[in-house]
Amino acid sequence: MTGFPSLLHSDDEQQLRETVRRQLAARADWSSVLRRVEADDPYDADTWRTLAAQTGAAGLPVPEELGGAGASWRETAVVAEELGRSLAVVPFLGSAVLATAALLHAGESELLPQVAGGERTAVLAVPLSTWPGSSFPTSVSVEGDALTGRVTSVGDAGAADVLLVPAIGPDGPSLWAVEAFEVTPRTSLDMTRPLGDVTLSGSSGRRVAEGAAAEAALQHALMVGAGILASEQLGLAEQCLETTIAYLKERYQFGRPLGSYQALKHRLASLWVEVTRARATARYAAGCLATQDPDTAVAVAVAAAICSDVAVLAAEECVQLHGGLGFTWEHPAHLWLKRAKADQIALGTPDRHRAALADLVDLPLGAG
C-alpha cells in the first residue's frame, strides 16, 4: 500500500449527495415507498429517470464517450448511501452497479451507453446472494446463441429490459445479453428490493464476453457490487441511528426524555462508534474501487463484513428503541430492518467475506 485514498467526501461528492437527497426526499419518502411496495408494480420508474437525468446516477463510472457521467465508483457510492437512507425502489444496484461493472469490464459498448443514460435497465442474472469468489454459475446453458435455464432470486429482475446472463456452453463460460425472458416475482423479505426468478427457454442472446473474460467480468461485478453495497448499508445505518436519536430526545416516560437514561445513551453511543467505523471502511472500499488499487479485494471484504453487521445492528436497535411504534407497519423501521437483513446476505455474508480475507492475508484455517 502506498498511501490512503481520501476517505472524506470531496465538495463535488457533497454536492451530488445533496442533489440526490433532495430528489429522494421529494419523491420517495418512506410512506410513499411503503405504498409502492404494497402495489403490484413496485418500481418507481419516474424517480429513476429523474435521478438518471439530473445526477447521471445510472452511469456514474461510465466514461463520457460511452454515454456515462465520467465520474467513478466513489460517486456511485455516494448515491448508494443516499438510496440506503431512502429505500426508493429503483434498480440502482442491479443496473447501475452490477450490470454496469460487468459491461465495463467486458469492454461492451453497444448496451452500455443506453444503460448509462438510464434509457434501458440491464440486470445481472445471478441470485442476489452470490458472493465474490464463488464459482461460475451453471444454471443456464447455451447452445449456439440459444440460452436455456432458470436463475432464482435475481435482484431488480422485475425492472429489467435486458438481462446479462452468465451461461455455460460447450466452450465453457460466457456472458450474454438477452432480451427475451420471463420473470416470476418472488415474495421477498426485503420488499423494497424485489427479487424475481428468471426463466430462459431457448431465448436468443448476444455474446458479451467468453471464457476467462466472462469469468473475470462476473467476478469484477460481484466485487464492485459488494463494495458499493457497503455504502448503501452505511446510509441505512446512519438513517436508523439519526431517527432513533431524534425519537429518544422527544419521547418522555417516567417524567423524563428516554434519551436521558444512561442504559439507552450507552447503546446509542456504542452504535455511533460502530457507524463511525463502518463509514471509514465504506469510503476506503469506494476509493480503492475507483482507482483499481491493488488493495481493493481486502478493502471490499473488510467493508462488506463490517457494514453488513452494522446496518443490521442499527436497524434492530431502531426497532427495539422505538418500542411498539418500531414494530408497526406504519413506521419505517421494519423497512430498514428488512433491507438491512437482506443486504447482509446479498453479495456475500460477513462470514463469506471474512473467509475470503483469510486467504487474501494468509491466515488460513487449515494446518498450512
Binding site: M1, T2, G3, F4, P5, S6, L7, L8, S10, D12, A69, G70, A71, S72, R74, E75, I245, L248, K249, R256, P257, G259, S260, Q262, K265, H266, L268, A269, S270, W272, V273, T276, R277, A278, R279, A280, T281, R283, Y284, G287, A290, T291, V298, A301, V302, A305, I306, D351, R354, A355, L357, A358, V361, D362, L363, P364, L365, G366, A367, G368
Partner: protein, 405 residues
C-alpha cells in the same frame, strides 16, 4: 467531476522538499554517529524538527503536523536517535499540548525543550482516592501565600511518577464555589520537599503507577498554568489530548496487538481451530476497520474539520486490545497458562504489550480505565456528539465543600 481526492503528501511537495533540506543540514551539522544523543536531540529541537506543527522557536516550524512523518522517516533512515517516545508519553501527549495552549511564554521556553528531549519526564497528578471519573470533585488544596502556593493532598494511580521531574497538577483553590469553578492548574516540581512518591503495585505484578502524597509543598506562582479558578478548562483540554494519545496513533496493517496474534497463527499451525479462526478473522476485520477510521480522523484534522471521531478512537482501541490479548492466550493454549515474571518492578516505560502475552492480557484491562473509562467516554459521546439530554445532576450548583462524599 474529480475521481479521487488528495493522497498523502508526495515527495514533490515544495514543503516536503524544504523539510528534507532542513533534515540534511541537521544531519550534516550533527552527524548522529559522532555526536552525543542528547546533543543531537537538542539540535533537532532547535532546528524546528522536533514537532513541526509547533511554533517556530518551540521545536517546530508552524506547518501542518502530518509533515512530521516526513521528518521522522528521513531521520530514522539516517540512523538518528529518537527521544524514546514510550518513556515520555505523558509529557508528549498531555503536558506539552497543555503548556502550549495555556502556558506563559516563559513556561513554554523553560519546559518544552527538556520535555521533548526526554531530559525531564512528566507525570499526571489528576486522580485522587475520592475523585476518579468525577475528576472535578478533587480535594487536593492549594492555598496562596505571597508569590507561592502551599499544596496539601493525595494523588493516586500516577503513572511514572517515580521517573518524573515534573507533574501536571490540578488542585482546589476555592472550596466555596461549585466544584468546576474552584480549580487551578500547576506544573509541579516533583523534586521539591513534601512530594512523596510511593509505588502502587498493579495486576501485572509491577508498579507502573504510584500514589503521591503532597505535604506543605510550596510551588511558585510562576508555575501556575492558566488563570486561578480556570483549572477545569485547562484539565479538560489535557484529557482530550490524552484520549487521542491513547487511541489515535497511526499504525501499519497488523500493527500492535493484532500482529502478535497473526504471527503466532502463521507460525504455529498446530494451534489452529475453527472457532479461534472465526474469532481471529472477526477481530482482524475490526482492527483493520479501526485503523482506517484512525486514518479518516487524521485526514479530517488535516483538512481543518476535526470530527467527533476522536472520541471513538480510544473506545475502539481498548476494546480491540482486550479482545485480541484474550484471544492470544487461548490460542497459545498451554503456553498461555504461564506468566513471565511476577516480581515487583518499577518500569521505566509504559508498554501495552511488549511481546509478553500474559502481561498484554492483564495490561489491556487498564486501557478501558485509564484516560477516562469506557462508560465515561460513552457518556461524552452520547451528550456532546449525539446531543442526548444530560444526566440528572445533583452536584452542579452546590459549593464543593457541601458535596456528599
Amino acid at each position: 467531476m474529480t475521481t479521487t481526492g488528495p493522497r498523502t503528501p508526495a515527495a514533490a511537495d515544495p514543503t516536503t522538499a524544504d523539510l528534507l533540506d532542513r533534515v540534511q543540514s541537521l544531519l550534516a551539522s550533527h552527524p548522529p554517529a559522532e555526536v552525543d544523543r542528547l546533543d543531537f536531540l537538542r539540535a533537532r529541537f532547535d532546528a524546528g524538527l522536533a514537532w513541526v506543527g509547533y511554533p517556530v522557536g518551540l521545536g517546530g516550524l508552524g506547518i501542518p503536523r502530518e509533515l512530521q512523518a516526513v521528518v521522522d522517516a528521513a531521520l530514522a533512515a539516517a540512523g538518528a536517535p529518537d527521544n524514546s517516545p514510550r518513556s515520555i508519553g505523558i509529557g508528549l501527549g498531555m503536558a506539552a499540548p497543555t503548556i502550549l495552549a495555556h502556558g506563559s511564554d516563559e513556561q513554554k521556553q523553560r519546559w518544552l525543550r527538556p520535555l521533548w528531549t526526554g531530559e525531564e519526564v512528566w507525570c499526571q497528578l489528576f486522580s485522587e482516592p475520592g475523585a476518579g471519573s468525577d475528576l472535578a470533585a478533587l480535594g487536593t488544596r492549594a492555598v496562596r501565600d505571597g508569590d507561592e502556593w502551599v499544596v496539601n493532598g493525595q494523588k493516586v494511580w500516577t503513572s511514572m511518577a517515580h521517573e518524573a521531574r515534573w507533574g501536571i497538577l490540578v488542585t482546589r483553590t476555592d472550596p466555596d464555589v461549585p466544584k468546576h469553578a474552584g480549580m487551578t492548574y500547576f506544573g509541579c516540581d516533583m523534586h521539591v520537599p513534601g512530594v512523596d512518591v510511593r509505588p502502587l503495585r498493579q495486576a501485572t505484578g509491577e508498579a507502573e503507577f504510584n500514589e503521591v502524597f503532597l505535604t506543605d509543598v510550596r510551588l511558585p506562582d510562576t508555575d501556575r498554568i492558566g488563570e486561578v479558578g480556570n483549572g477545569w478548562r485547562v484539565a479538560t483540554g489535557t484529557l482530550m489530548n490524552e484520549r487521542v494519545a491513547i487511541g489515535g496513533q497511526s499504525a501499519p496493517r497488523e500493527g500492535g496487538m493484532l500482529g502478535m496474534v497473526t504471527s503466532v497463527w502463521r507460525e504455529r499451525p498446530e494451534l489452529r481451530t475453527p472457532g479461534l479462526h472465526s474469532e481471529l478473522m472477526e477481530q482482524w476485520v475490526r482492527a483493520e476497520a479501526s485503523r482506517i477510521t484512525g486514518e479518516r480522523l487524521r485526514q479530517q484534522m488535516a483538512a481543518g474539520t476535526p470530527g467527533p471521531e476522536g472520541s471513538a478512537a480510544k473506545l475502539m482501541f481498548s476494546e480491540l486490545n482486550q479482545r485480541l490479548s484474550g484471544l492470544l492466550l487461548e490460542l497459545l493454549g498451554e503456553q498461555g497458562l504461564a506468566y513471565d515474571d511476577w516480581t515487583m518492578r518499577r518500569p521505566k516505560e509504559v508498554h501495552f504489550h511488549g511481546n509478553r502475552p500474559g502481561y498484554s492480557y492483564l495490561r489491556a484491562k487498564g486501557n478501558s480505565i485509564e484516560g477516562g473509562t469506557t462508560e465515561i467516554l460513552l457518556n461524552i459521546v452520547a451528550e456532546r456528539v449525539l446531543g442526548l439530554p444530560g444526566e440528572m445532576r445533583v452536584d452542579k450548583d452546590v459549593p464543593w465543600k457541601d458535596l456528599p462524599r
